[in-house]
Structure formats: C-alpha cells, structure tokens
C-alpha cells in the first residue's frame, strides 16, 4: 500500500477540485516609517497584467503549498502544482474510463519479464528540462535515463529524509543497500550518486531497466506518481535545500512567481517538447465536447495562476464574480446552488454555470486501535459502535446529503467495488442492535465499560461538531465517550505510537487499485506503517500477500471483496462515508473532465475567451 495520503476531511473536501480564481496580481507592498506614520503605496514588480487574448487559467488553492520538490512531497496541494511542472514516466489517460495508464516520458508501456521482476522502459527522445540557471548557459538539457536513476537514488538517500521512501522500501534490488551506505555520509551533499545500484541500470541514454526483489505489480502506477518524476542533478547541486522553491522539470509549465502565502504563477515552458490532446475517449465524450480539441498540441494556456485562499466563502464569491474558472460548492452555499432534485438552481443556470459530479476514491472512518485492551478483544463492542452511528444523519448535517454512505471500505469508483456490499448491512444504523451488542460487550469486558476516547485531528469548529456528533450517537446507546481534539502533529504521533483508542480519519487512493485500502489492514504494516488499526488477521494477511503479486484481474478483485468482508466482519473500524465531488465551472472553462487520480491536467484545459468576456456583460445584466 503506497499512495494513500491521509488527509484531513475538510482538506479533501476542498481538494475535490482545484479552486480557481481570476487574479491580476497586484500585491501592494507597504512602506512604513513609524515616526511619520505610514504610506500605503507601491505595486509588486512581478505584477503581471493579463493581456486581452492571453489564455490564463485561474485556479484557487485552499492551502499553502509546502514545496515543489517532487522527491519529498506528500501534501496534495504541492502535488497539484508540481504536477504541471514535473512529469513522471506514465500518466492516466485524460478521457478513458475505467482509468488507464499511458506513457508520458516513456516511449511506451514497460516490457515486463515473465518472472515479473525486470521492467525495461524506453524513454522519449527530445525531452528537455526547463531552462534554468543551474544548467550551463542556463539552457535546459535533454532528459536522460540516468536522471530517473538519480531521482530514485535521491529518495533512497536517508540524509534527504524523503517522505516517499516507504514506497520503495525493500522493493528494488540494491536500493536498500544504497540507503545503508548513505547513513555513513555526513550530509546530503556528501552522498556519491555514482555508486552502482544493480536494480537501476541504463544500458543507453534512453533505456531504464528496473529489477525488483519480488513481484510488484503496482510499479507502473508508482512510475505514474509525481514522486518518481525525474529531477536534474544540476538543480539539486545548484540549489541545495532551496530546491523546494526552484523546481526544474520537463513539464509544460515552469514556475514564474511563487509568493508562499498569496499566489503561484506558472508560465508555458518554451523548452517543452510538445504533446497532443487525446483523440479518443470513452463513449459520450464527443457529445460532451471533450473531443473538440482532439489531436491539437497542448498546453493551451499561456499561464496558470493559483491564488491561495484558505477560506471557502471568499473563493466562492470570486467564482461568482467570474474571477475563478471552477470551484467546489461550499457546504454553506449548497442550497443556493442545488435544488431538492439535485438540479442546479435557476440562478446558477442563468450564470451559465455547469455542474460536474464524480466519485472521489476516498473512504472515511472511525477507526479502532486493535491493540487497545478494551476495544481490541471486544468485537461486539466495536460493532455496537458501528451500529450506533447514524451515517445518513451525519452526511445530512455535515455534507448536505451529497456523499454516499460507506457500506464497505472500497469506494464505489474502484473496479473491485462490491455492488452487494450494502445488503451485508454492516453500515446499518441500528441503536437497538447496538444496545444488545453492548450487553454482550460488557460480559466480555467483565463489568461496566470504561469511558472510551475518540481522537480527532483538529481543533476547528468542524472537528468539534464532528466529535460532538459521534459523542451524541454513542451516548444515545449508553456508551460513555470522551473526545480529544488535537492538532495534526499530536494526532499523527499518537496514532503512530499506537497510544490511542478510537480515531477519525480517511484516505484517498491515488490509483484505481484498491490495494491502497486493503493494505491498511495488513498486519505487517502496523503503525507507524499504514495499518493504523494495528489490525491483524492471518487469513486476511494470507489473501493480501496472494493478491499483492497478482496483476490486475477479475480474480484479484474477487480476492479484494473477500478481504473486505473479512475486515467488515472483524470491524476494526466503523466506515462512515465516501465522497462525491460536486464541481461547478463556468462555460468558458473547456475540457474540464474530472479525474480521480491525475493531477497534471492543466495542459488540457482551454479558456473560451469570448465567453469569458461575455460573462462580465452577463453579470451586469443580472445585477
């Protein structure tokens, strides 16, 4: 299980699409002299005023991004931006569903040896890094196979402290030894990257051969992950620790301005090799206009702007003003946007605003620490808690009824999703049953149950109300609960050190393979590994190991469903909900087909400038 990113619920809620916003950057700077008072004046030098027929995408990020160094990023927001600058070997097809991997920097899909251990990948010729000071005469040089090797070694380098190492831990021949070697180096710089790693070889500049210790079918999806995007050694050496703010990739856009707490501006990279809009998609795409640009060279946009606005409300207002191309619907404005029948309200239609919904590959739950003396041994107690939670009510109160209940742990979008899962009734709201089970539970516990603790990874109002909701539900069936609100760091620490009873969390898959979710119950991955539940079931483990080495296939999906049922039966967590993204966009925002796994899609977006100017007139008439 590799790419599950634990994201706080609201964060994901925002993430469902990138907010987008129009921004003519005018950051006035302030000159103050305390004695004399102040003069507000000045206008930021980098202020780029939009030319009439320049095509600019206006996005919104709902959180600051941490850094733009693909080797060491885990937060979604950084990934969103970095994905426009860096490219991995493979990418998801923009239009095809079910989701399908296609080559990006690679010439074609890898040749896999019969023992599934050797991957031979041919790399596109004529791919150039973006022009940057770090190169001689600051022209971007051509991409070579060794760059991939370097990037992987870099992640292995312990001095680099990459958060992505766990992805490659004990997978590639010789890479772990390389990590061992780096331990004796004094600093990141001292590491000698020319050291051989048998598992990573480059017979020529355009061929990369990866040898695995054991079969690892997810390798392709890994190679589609931004973490494996090639980074130029020149840049790393040149910028040192500041590489996080000096991305040098091969992608269609390059970084122009990054004001950490207000905006990021990317511009089209002149050295981009050029790519083409897909000419085929799934049925219905043509009608939806997704194929209008078929075969045209991408990117369309000249610039991509992200404004960082952490509050939902202002972003929404900017969207209505036409300063943002697309947005999710803020919880509090839902009624203003949707009528009861799930249709857009007339007001929205009048604005020519379009609605897109899609299943988000995520699941949220109330998890139990199976090593906890009270909960671990007491299955009736756990299922009682699960039955005591009114998921419908939860979704109504907190998500305006727009998210589906999680009957199991695999999101509906996954091919291995089990259509009958609802009938199994694990997610039923049944207080009576819960109370019966509690009687049992007390027998097992031998006496009155102690007060249980729920940990929530936040102190905001949202979490407080969420916590209160759970508490009310459990109190209703006669369970004493105490909620503990802690900041994310504390929370993670407590979860990782297994010193927690119940915890609310969720995760979102980065590939269509549900293994992401199942791995969270594999006993070898106990905390601080992905298995935060510290759940352990030999039968499950066996199946997991079996499935792990299988290529994607119906049998594999059957296995997954079986494993899912085992988990639901043991109930190491009360699964609450999946998510459906409700995305609004203006009708000038073209080729906006939601995608659950891909981030680097800005290159496909196109702006209908005529319509956009028309909107300004429209607003006047409406007002």
């Amino acid at each position: 299980m590799k790419f599950v990113r634990i994201i706080s619920a609201p964060a994901l809620h925002r993430l469902q699409t990138h907010y987008q916003i129009r921004m003519s950057v005018r950051l006035a700077l302030l000159v103050t002299t305390i004695g004399a008072g102040l003069i507000i004046a000045g206008c930021d030098s980098s202020a780029s005023i939009e030319e009439p027929n320049e095509m600019v995408l206006h996005h919104v990020l709902s959180a600051k991004i941490k850094g733009l160094d693909p080797g060491n990023m885990r937060d979604v927001y950084s990934i969103i931006v970095a994905s426009q600058i860096f490219e991995p070997l493979y990418q998801y097809h923009f239009l095809k569903r079910p989701y399908e991997l296609v080559p990006l920097l690679a010439e074609d899909m890898p040749q896999i040896s019969d023992d599934l251990l050797t991957y031979t990948i041919r790399i596109k010729k004529g791919v150039y890094f973006q022009d940057d000071l770090c190169f001689s005469n600051s022209k971007g040089r051509e991409l070579k196979a060794k760059d991939f090797v370097f990037s992987l070694k870099r992640i292995a380098n312990i001095k680099y402290l990459s958060q992505n190492w766990s992805i490659f831990d004990n997978k590639i021949v010789g890479l772990d030894e390389f990590r061992e070697y780096t331990k004796i180096c004094n600093s990141e710089a001292d590491v000698d990257y020319s050291r051989q790693v048998q598992g990573l070889t480059t017979p020529d500049d355009y061929t990369l051969i990866i040898r695995l210790k054991k079969s690892w079918p997810q390798l392709c999806t890994v190679l589609a992950d931004i973490a494996t995007a090639p980074v130029a050694k020149e840049a790393v050496d040149y910028y040192g620790k500041d590489i996080i703010s000096h991305p040098v990739g091969t992608g269609p856009f390059r970084l122009n301005v990054w004001r950490r707490d207000s905006y990021i501006e990317l511009v089209r990279s002149p050295s981009f090799r050029g790519e083409f809009y897909p000419s085929s998609g799934e049925p219905g795409d043509a009608e939806a206009g997704y194929l209008d640009d078929a075969g045209k060279p991408v990117p369309f946009a000249d610039r991509v702007l992200w404004t960082i606005i952490e509050e939902r409300q202002p972003a929404w207002l900017l969207f209505l003003q036409g300063k943002v191309d697309a947005t999710v619907i803020p919880k509090d404005n839902f009624d203003e946007v949707m009528d009861g029948a799930g249709e857009l309200t007339p007001a929205m239609k009048q604005h020519n605003i379009h609605l897109k919904t899609f299943n988000d590959p995520s699941t949220y739950w109330l998890g139990f620490n199976m090593l906890d003396p009270v909960l671990g041994k007491n299955k009736p107690l756990r299922s009682a808690i699960s039955y005591a939670i009114d998921r419908e009510k939860f979704i109504e109160l907190f998500f305006n009824n727009r998210h589906p209940v999680a009957y199991g742990l695999i999101p509906p979008i996954m091919p291995s999703y089990n259509p009958e899962i609802k009938e199994k009734g694990y997610a039923k709201y049944d207080p009576e049953k819960a109370q019966e089970l509690l009687k049992e539970a007390e027998k097992i516990h031998g006496g009155k149950l102690p007060t249980l603790k729920i940990a929530l990874p936040g102190t905001s109002t949202w979490y407080r109300q969420f916590g209160q909701f759970l508490k009310r539900n459990l109190n209703a069936v006669g369970l004493e609960v105490e909620t503990e609100y802690m900041d994310m760091p504390t929370y993670q620490e407590k979860v990782n050190t297994k010193s927690i009873q119940m915890f609310t969390s969720g995760s979102s898959a980065t590939s269509p393979d549900a293994q992401d979710f199942l791995a969270m119950f594999y006993s070898r991955y106990n905390a601080p590994g992905p298995n935060k539940f510290n759940y352990s079931n030999p039968e499950f483990d066996e199946l997991y190991e079996k499935a792990q080495v299988m290529l994607d296939s119906p049998e594999k999906h059957q296995l997954y469903r079986k494993m899912e049922l085992i988990v639901l039966e043991d109930c190491p967590a009360a699964f609450l909900n999946h998510r459906v993204a409700y995305v609004l966009h203006h009708d000038w925002y073209k080729n906006y087909k939601p995608h659950a796994f891909a981030y680097g899609l800005s290159k496909y977006r196109r702006i209908d400038l005529v319509k956009r100017t028309a909107y300004k007139e429209l607003l006047k008439t409406i007002k």
Partner: protein, 310 residues
C-alpha cells in the same frame, strides 16, 4: 460657570477607614450597585450549574446536550434564541457557558493573584537580590507580547499531565492565563509595598519586634489589599475575553459549550444566516464585562482615586 470649575474634582470626604470609606461611597453609587447585582447573578448562575451537575438535577442548563428542535432552528416561542447544528437549545448552552467562562476567569485570576501578590510583597519588602530576581522574572515575561505568551503556554500545556491530572480544555486555558498574567499585580504590589515600607506603622511594628512574615502579611498586605481587589475586578474581564480568543484558536474548551466556542461556531454559521448563537454568547459576555468594568471603576474611585490600572 467657568470650565475650570467643571474640571477640579472635590476631594473625597475624609472617612474613618479606607474600607468603610470605599463601602460608603460605593453604596452611594446606584449604578455600581446595580452592576454588582448583575455580577452576582452571573456567579450565582455558574455556582448553580455546578450544584446542578453535582446533584444531577435535570434542569435547563445542564440539559444543554438534549435535542430541543430542528438543527439551526431560528428563534421561536419553543426555543427563545434558536438552536444550533444539533438542535440543541442555544439558551441552555449560553446559560451553561456562564459556568465555563466564569470558572476560567476566576481560576486564572486566583492563580495570578496567588503568584503575583506574595512575590510582589517579598520583592518590595526585602529588595536586594530577591527583588532583582523577581523583577528579572517579570520583566522577562512582560517583554514577551501577552497574547503570544498565553498562546505559547496554552499550546505546550495542552494535553500534558500535571501531578497525574490531565490538562484538558479549560484547565489548560486558565493555567495558561494565570501563569502569564500575574506580572501586572506583582509589579503593582511591589511598588506599593516599597512605598509603605517606610511608613510609621511599619517602623512601629518593627520597633516592637514583629518578625518579617508578620510585618509583610499582617501589616503591609492589608494596607495594599484594596489594590488586589481593584486589579481583580478589572482583570476578570480581560480573562473572559481571553477565553474567547483561545477557543477561537482551538485551545479552549471543546467538550462543553463555552461562550468562546459558541462565538467561534458563528464563523461557519453566519454565512448561512445563523446569527443567534453568536448573538447570545456576545450578549452574555457583553453584560457581564460591562457590569465588571463599571463596578471595577467605581471600586477604584472609591478605594484609591489616584490609582490607574490599565
């Protein structure tokens, strides 16, 4: 009548003792007495909630958790000031909140007085090295911006265990406030003690051989005690407001309804037009601190007109 005449204030009447005086002129200020009444009401309410919880009387405030209507029901005859997201009665929450806020403010004040007064007295009386140290401590503390200091304390105190007792919610809050806000009163007392130290009555006490503890606590402190009262009355307000800010920053009480938490919720609610929860909490705080402010001033004017605490 000349403006000059409007300005000069007639001296307070010569009275028998400081306290009798204060009491006398206080009683003459009708407004001050009204405020005192209001304050008393709040305290009674808080105390009442405590009792109710202790004896588990099933009356309004402590039944705040019950569902009293639809979620976000606007004010109506059923729920006079509406309900919150879970349909809990805002009125009950507000009443219950009195307990939290007053507990916080009270404990914080007591802590800061317990630390500040003795330190100030000792520093002022002994001077010399002890004084140096104490002054050093409080000038260090006071050179860190107050809000920052409280936050820092609150952050680190949160979820720590102290003497086997877990610092959750308000405990951490009032500890943080108390431990950081004793500086003012300490400085005040120190100054006064230095002034009084050479007054005749102290010299007299020394001359007939009182030991130091007795002099400080039996002779000096009573003569500066009114400062403590005044300081207390004015500080109390500040602490109630501090609780609001801390809850906003997620460092406050999360389990039970507190005014701070209620106002904090409004951030989400206002945009859907839910104003009543916020209004209720604001009003609750408003009247309490209004009363405290006015009463505090009256107290100061009658006990020590020259004093200027801000």
């Amino acid at each position: 009548m000349s403006e000059y005449q409007q300005i000069i204030k007639t001296e307070p009447p010569k009275g028998t003792s400081l306290w009798k005086d204060g009491a006398r002129s206080l009683r003459r200020r009708r407004l001050a007495m009204v405020c005192l009444g209001v304050i008393a009401l709040y305290f009674l309410l808080a105390g009442f909630v405590y009792l109710a919880e202790f004896f588990d009387w099933r009356i309004g405030p402590i039944r705040w958790a019950e569902q009293a209507g639809q979620s976000y029901a606007p004010p109506s005859s059923k729920n006079i000031i509406g309900t919150d997201i879970f349909g809990q009665s805002v009125l009950r929450k507000t009443l219950y909140g009195a307990k939290i806020s007053i507990t916080v403010a009270l404990c914080a004040s007591l802590i800061s007085i317990a630390i500040g007064v003795p330190l100030g007295a000792v520093a002022g009386y002994f001077r010399g090295f002890i004084d140096e140290i104490i002054v050093w401590i409080y000038s260090t503390l006071s050179s860190v911006p107050y809000i920052l200091l409280i936050l820092a304390f609150a952050v680190v105190l949160r979820d720590k265990t102290l003497f086997g007792h877990k610092l959750t919610g308000i405990t951490a809050v009032y500890l943080a406030i108390g431990l950081t806000s004793w500086v003012g009163i300490c400085r005040l007392i120190r100054g006064e003690v230095i002034k009084h130290k050479n007054r005749e009555y102290v010299l007299a006490a020394i001359s007939y051989g009182c030991n130091r503890r007795r002099i400080i606590f039996r002779h000096l402190l009573p003569n500066v005690s009114h400062l403590v009262i005044i300081d207390f009355s004015l500080r109390f307000v500040a602490f109630i407001h501090a609780e609001v800010i801390l809850s906003f920053l997620g460092l406050g009480e999360a389990e039970r309804p507190s005014w701070g938490a209620m106002i904090n919720d409004a951030r989400i609610e206002l945009s859907r037009g839910v104003w009543w929860q916020m209004a209720a909490a604001t009003a609750a705080i408003f009247f309490l601190s209004l009363a405290l402010n006015i009463f505090g001033d009256a107290l100061r004017d009658s006990l020590d007109p020259k004093l200027r605490i801000q």
